[in-house]
């Protein structure tokens, strides 16, 4: 499939020149095209933020909901129609800050969706406050003495929740990002892809160069089925590894939904059963 199928005509992208977000959209289109996913059969769900504008920049179904709330509608969509491919895409603040509770419980629920997080370690849209992933000491107009807490480590937390698929990449490494995205989308069950994405306007610390210097690819020998090892690698701090940390294949949320046990028909094609209802009502006599 040609990635142009995902192009939208005449779009005015609201991102800053040089922003890492452009690369993510472009690599995502490539991955989708290579996987032969049709625009009509895909839904991208997002929250609010710079990253969350992404679904406006490719031709496919989209649900651009509330800040922090991409995962619940994504889960609802996938449950109502498991035939759709569903991606939940937002920023680090959206997904790990405002949406933190959905993040942990969606991982437990394990719907077959791909969760792409544009991790720029800052709140971009609201002009530069710290996000949960901001590094210690990061100064902002609100964090005037710099950030105090340890940055939120989505990879380690996802592994602690025994997530089904956990990966991290950096948009500076397009090949790795494309390969990971493809594997994540193909993976059955919840898949986290945390993507380091430089924000050239509000994060002058974690720049392209910084990410380049402070990351490296996990070796091919890394065994993603080893949870303890995955956790160990996830907690490395001197340099941050990129790659697929952990894979734990298990039933997805939809597979556990009893109504799909025998019959995969999506909800909109099912009718209520009047006879059964009459029967149920009569049982109350």
């Amino acid at each position: 499939m040609n990635k142009e199928i995902f192009d939208l005509p005449d779009i005015d992208m609201a991102w800053c020149p040089g922003c890492g977000n452009f690369g993510i959209v472009s690599v995502l289109k490539e991955a989708l095209a290579e996987l032969e996913i049709k625009p009509e059969e895909l839904v991208i769900v997002s929250g609010i933020g710079q990253a969350a504008k992404a679904p406006h920049y490719l031709r496919t179904n989209f649900f651009n909901g509330l800040h922090g709330r991409a995962l619940p509608p994504a889960t609802g969509i996938k449950a109502a129609n498991p035939e759709l491919s569903v991606i939940a895409e937002s920023g680090d603040g959206d997904m790990y800050g405002e949406g933190g509770n959905h993040f942990i419980h969606t991982i437990r629920r394990n719907p077959d969706i791909t969760n792409i997080v544009h991790n720029n370690m800052v709140y971009g849209l609201t002009k530069g406050q710290a996000s949960p992933t901001s590094r210690k000491g990061f100064r902002t107009p609100i964090q005037v003495h710099g950030v105090f807490p340890e940055p939120f480590n989505p990879v380690a937390v996802a592994i602690s929740l025994d997530a089904s698929f956990v990966a991290r990449t950096f948009i500076g490494d397009r090949d790795l990002t494309r390969e990971i995205l493809k594997k994540a989308i193909r993976h059955k069950g919840y898949a986290l892809v945390d993507i380091f994405q430089p924000c050239v306007s509000f994060n002058k610390v974690n720049t392209y160069a910084w990410f380049k210097d402070n990351t490296y690819r996990l070796e091919d020998s890394h065994d993603p089925s080893d949870r303890q090892e995955a956790f160990r690698r996830a907690t490395e701090t001197t340099k941050l590894p990129l790659g697929i940390f952990y894979i734990n294949s298990k039933n997805s949320f939809e597979e556990n939904i009893p109504i799909y046990g025998k019959d995969k028909t999506p909800l909109f094609m099912r009718g209520p059963d009047r006879e059964k209802l009459t029967h149920l009502i009569r049982s109350r006599i």
Binding site: E41, R59, N61, F63, T75, P272, R284
Partner: protein, 572 residues
């Protein structure tokens, strides 16, 4: 209770059982009303309970009547105290006419009571856990119910238990039955209530069940919720029947997730709902605003309880009308139904799904603990009046989700059905659903959304006038106060006072104005402290009620209380 003479209770009897949580009153409530109804009695039951799993004082009222009854009475004809705290708990409602039947082994009271050795009998059978079934037997005996019919019912009721437990329950029932039949025979007291063939053929359901059945009838196939009393009944009902009706049931991590999941589900073609109470609705407010903006259908079952905050979790109040009406930032239309009968709980919940789908707006079914927990018998719903209306279209490749149309309604497509691309956007958007900062388009989109209010107004559910058409005084109520107002007016028996029952509080049906204008005096009855519906009438119709009958102690109105207060207000 008068000593010596035989008391005869006829026409309508109010039986109250009271004990601690965990003493099995709930089982009594699950068995007795149903067998009474099967025998042709009209029955009604309601409970009041504390927010605890064990201990405290809870009570259930069972009314057995020759005519239909659907409201809570203060009056207690027969009281069965299952522990010592019961009598002090109910002291205000006990009168000299109240027959108390208790077990002297447990009960110490200054009041006279008929001594029945519930625990003694139960222990002989196998343990005090059978006490409640002894009581069921006794009451069955007092009504001379068919032994076989009740035994059968009890057998089925306990069918999942071990054989000896079933057997013991039957024995307990029979032991109690003997005691019960003995009362009239021995001249202690007799019950004489007419039966009704119709009742025997009717259904007996609770408010929660009525809503649950209405949801199924409305085509509900997705529910995401977070448990919260008193809304959990509907959530549980749908879970229990999910296999049978292909319903996806998901307990969300919080109410925010529940609400947003519902919107995702509708987006992808489900007919979805959430169930919650005030504190949970508070957390859904942002999602309701999202429904307004993305023009998503949404069905919100809100079962009220006294607030603010945690308030009184197991009690009742009509205190969240304003929050429901104004929940969500920004401006967009909505509908709020307020069923007051089990029939309406069924029909309006059913309708909520059609209206939500048709107009792409949030629709509330506003109930409360009072309505959720009461049960009575009613005719089978007319299934021909019930239809699942679907408004989803198959899209073409030029589909625009927010197409600007004459009436404001853009045909709703869903992803994966047709060639179109389906956009949903919480920002102000263009017809395709993409973010816009075109401020002229903004105006069009606001107008489009608000326009729909006129359409839903035209489809409003009319109020129901109960009583004489040529009234002087009009009593107005909405939602769960219905049964008590109706019966109170029957008791008052005045041709001059009628009752207007409001089933939809927003938008208001135009007939309401006429009814109010025709009255010389208007009285609003509300289970809250600030008369929220009164304010709504003032705001939208510019009329003020002449008097207000309000109650906010956490209890529903009783028939007697309302009869008294309405008579007084009407006379002023």
């Amino acid at each position: 209770m008068n000593k010596g003479s035989t008391v005869k209770i006829s026409g309508d009897v109010s039986i109250v059982l009271c004990g601690a949580a965990g003493q099995g009153i709930q089982t009594i409530e699950q068995i007795l009303p149903r067998v009474l109804k099967r025998a042709g009695y009209n029955v009604f039951a309601t409970k009041e309970y504390m927010s605890r799993v064990r201990g405290g004082s809870n009570s259930t009222q069972i009314r057995v009547s020759s005519r239909r009854v659907s409201a809570y009475l203060d009056r207690i004809d027969i009281l069965i105290p299952l522990d010592n705290a019961a009598i002090p708990h109910l002291k205000k409602r006990i009168s000299p006419d109240t027959v108390i039947i208790g077990d002297s082994e447990k009960l110490s009271s200054d009041l006279e009571f008929i001594d029945v050795p519930f625990s003694g009998l139960a222990k002989k059978i196998g343990g005090t856990i059978y006490e409640n079934i002894v009581a069921v037997g006794m009451l069955s005996g007092m009504f001379r119910l068919d032994i076989e019919m009740v035994s059968d019912f009890i057998m089925k009721f306990f069918s999942k238990k071990k054989e000896d437990i079933v057997r013991n329950n039957i024995t307990a029932f029979k032991k109690g039955y003997e005691t019960g039949t003995d009362f009239c025979r021995s001249g202690k007291f007799c019950i004489d209530i007419g039966t009704d063939k119709e009742a025997a053929e009717e259904i007996l359901i609770s408010g929660s069940e009525a809503v649950g059945l209405g949801a199924i009838a409305g085509g509900c196939n997705f529910i995401s919720a977070y448990p919260m009393t008193p809304s959990t009944g509907v959530f549980t009902f749908l879970a229990q029947h999910s296999d049978n009706f292909d319903i996806i049931v998901e307990q969300a991590e919080d109410e925010i997730a529940a609400m947003n999941m519902q919107l995702g589900a509708w987006y992808a073609g489900a007919r979805a709902m959430v169930t919650t109470s005030g504190g949970g609705l508070a957390l859904m407010v942002e999602g309701i605003s999202l429904a307004g903006m993305i023009e998503s259908p949404a069905v919100i079952y809100l079962a009220q309880r006294p607030g603010p905050a945690t308030g009184l979790p197991t009690r009742t109040e009509q205190g969240d009308l304003e929050m429901a009406l104004y929940s969500g930032h920004g401006e967009f239309p909505r509908v709020i139904y307020t069923p007051g009968t089990l029939e309406d709980a069924f029909y309006l919940t059913q309708k909520a799904f059609n209206v939500a789908d048709k107009y792409q707006i949030p629709v509330f079914v506003l109930s409360d603990q009072n309505l959720a927990d009461l049960i009575y018998n009613l005719p089978l719903p007319d299934m021909s009046a019930v239809n699942v209306e679907r408004y989803i279209i198959k899209t073409g490749s030029d589909y625009k989700r927010y197409e600007l149309t004459e009436d404001g309604i853009s045909p709703r497509g869903i992803p994966g059905y047709g060639a179109g691309i389906i956009g949903a956007d919480s920002d102000e958007h263009n017809e395709d659903g993409h973010i816009t900062e075109d401020l002229d388009l903004r105006i069009k989109m606001v107008d489009k959304r608000l326009k729909k209010l006129d359409l839903v107004r035209a489809e409003s559910v009319p109020p129901e006038l109960i009583g004489n058409e040529n009234y002087e005084t009009l009593v107005v109520g909405w939602g769960s106060t219905h049964g008590a107002i109706k019966e109170a007016l029957e008791n008052i028996g005045s041709n001059d006072i009628s009752y207007l029952y409001i089933k939809q509080v927003y938008p208001l049906h135009p007939d309401i104005t006429d009814y109010l204008e025709n009255a010389e005096k208007t009285i609003i009855v509300e289970n809250n402290a600030t008369s929220q519906f009164g304010k709504l009438i003032k705001l939208y119709l510019g009329m003020e009620f002449d008097s207000k009958v309000l109650k906010y102690d956490g209890m529903p109105f009783s028939v007697e209380e309302l009869a008294g207060r309405i008579s007084r207000e009407a006379a002023i």
